[in-house]
């Protein structure tokens, strides 16, 4: 490697990316990238650090009209603490709190976690159920993509070499009924793990039935994804104790077209599939308890 750039501003960083194109990689916290560089996975000519830069002036999370805007360059610890994130994206905050360890969360960023696009990345299932869009900035402009389109394969995204992921935009959903915003990460110990599988859910229980239903699973396919057909099966259903039993046939029928887990050191394919199914089962049970008033929702 020949050079490590420390640009003083976002414009300067984008200018460097524009000039060097494929020869330079952006680095934020470095907690994924540094490892890959040492393993010889990449050999860029230079790195451009964005660790000190911010895309949003007044804090890592703020509401602009009907949109929650997240600064993808802010360290995860700051996003986790941001009131707007905690209020409007609790499933994302829960997920970010499971990434790595405190030391990692002090420098790691959403930009890194999302642009790295690991199939097991914990930020992705929550961002998918939130309907997030990524904003890619380049010298002279930016473009916005739905997250689902941004993720193109395991470790692959639609980011061009001269682009930087700067913000994430989450359309706010009007609150009706009781909200469930949950994230579950599965692994072999209680901290600092790469997920065997992870699942995020955003549900609304309205008059005893499921209104909004959004489910996403990670670690079980080339990219994390929404479970559309299962969402459809759940939508409108009464949130009672037999909810999962009623949708289980449809769920089982749909699941294998949606997820394609592979067997690796984090678990066998059948196991990962079972985790996703049990997660859906648990979410249904939770919805029933919330509907029955036995448990509070994750209301704002």
């Amino acid at each position: 490697m020949e050079r490590f750039w420390n640009p003083a501003s976002l414009d300067e960083a984008l200018a460097i990316l524009a000039g060097e194109r494929d020869a330079v990689m952006p680095v934020a916290g470095g907690t994924d990238l540094v490892l890959r560089l040492r393993q010889g996975r990449y050999a860029p000519r230079a790195l451009v650090s964005v660790r000190h830069l911010r895309a949003v002036d007044d804090g890592p999370a703020r509401v602009e009209g009907a949109t929650l805007v997240l600064d993808a360059l802010a360290p995860l610890v700051d996003v986790i603490a941001a009131p707007a994130a905690r209020t409007h994206a609790p499933e994302l905050v829960a997920a970010l709190a499971t990434i790595g360890s405190p030391a990692i969360r002090n420098v790691a960023t959403l930009a890194g976690n999302v642009a790295n696009a690991s199939p097991a990345a914990d930020s992705l299932p929550p961002l998918l159920v939130l309907g997030a869009e990524v904003v890619l900035s380049r010298r002279g402009g930016s473009r916005t993509l739905p997250l689902g389109s941004f993720l193109t394969g395991p470790g692959r995204t639609a980011r061009a070499a001269d682009e930087l992921l700067t913000t994430l935009r989450v359309p706010l959903v009007p609150a009706t009924g009781r909200r469930i915003a949950a994230f579950r990460k599965f692994g072999k110990r209680r901290a600092n793990i790469i997920a065997s599988a992870n699942v995020a859910a955003r549900l609304q229980v309205v008059d005893g039935r499921l209104g909004l239903v959004r489910l996403a699973a990670g670690g079980v396919a080339a990219t994390p994804r929404r479970l559309g057909p299962i969402e459809a099966a759940l939508h409108g259903q009464p949130a009672t104790a037999d909810l999962f039993a009623r949708v289980e046939p449809a769920t089982l029928a749909a699941i294998d077209a949606l997820i394609h887990p592979i067997s690796d050191v984090r678990g066998g394919a059948t196991f990962k599939r079972a985790l996703v199914l049990h997660a859906i089962e648990a979410i249904c049970a939770r919805a029933a308890r919330v509907a029955a008033g036995e448990e509070a929702g994750d209301d704002a």
Binding site: F4, L35, S49, S101, P102, A103, A191
Partner: protein
């Protein structure tokens, strides 16, 4: 090819080091600056033995590009000779059975310092969470958790 020296502050002292673009902060601290209290336990950011404070926050120096610390304020375990808060933590760890082989200890001292700076009265669950990125293979963690309890008691004068 000429390039600038990497400048930052370490333990209150300004330094200027000749560092390769792909050097890790860990390498610069240990090899260029002789700060061997910062340990390499795994090289993957999993064990926390390399932990330092960067601008007041705990980071794993094995994963941080050295040049990313340019202009920053780094605190290593060696600051214990001038910083009372670190010295107190070291003493408490040593006295409460929190040190056996000692290889993880510098990382834990800094993690405890970072925790108590941000949260002077943590609950047991918060303590475990804050220390969850520091691995210890000898103590089984209990004596280290007891150390933090003792420090909190001392600092709050017994009112937790």
């Amino acid at each position: 090819m000429t390039h600038d020296l990497l400048r930052f502050t370490v333990n209150g002292r300004e330094v200027a080091v000749d560092a390769a673009p792909d050097a890790r902060l860990l390498d610069v601290l240990r090899e260029s600056l002789g700060l061997t209290g910062v340990k390499e336990g795994c090289g993957e950011g999993e064990c926390g033995a390399c932990a330092v404070l960067l601008d007041g926050r705990l980071v794993n120096s094995c994963l941080l590009p050295a040049w990313s610390a340019a202009g920053g304020d780094v605190v290593t375990i060696e600051a214990g000779s001038t910083r009372r808060d670190l010295a107190d933590i070291e003493a408490a760890l040593a006295e409460t059975g929190g040190v056996q082989c000692g290889f993880c200890s510098p990382g834990f001292v800094l993690a405890i310092a970072a925790l108590l700076d941000a949260n002077p009265t943590p609950t047991p669950a918060e303590v475990k969470e804050a220390l969850s990125g520091n691995l210890c293979r000898c103590t089984g963690y209990h004596p280290i958790l007891a150390t933090v309890e003792r420090l909190v008691r001392e600092r709050t004068g017994g009112v937790a």
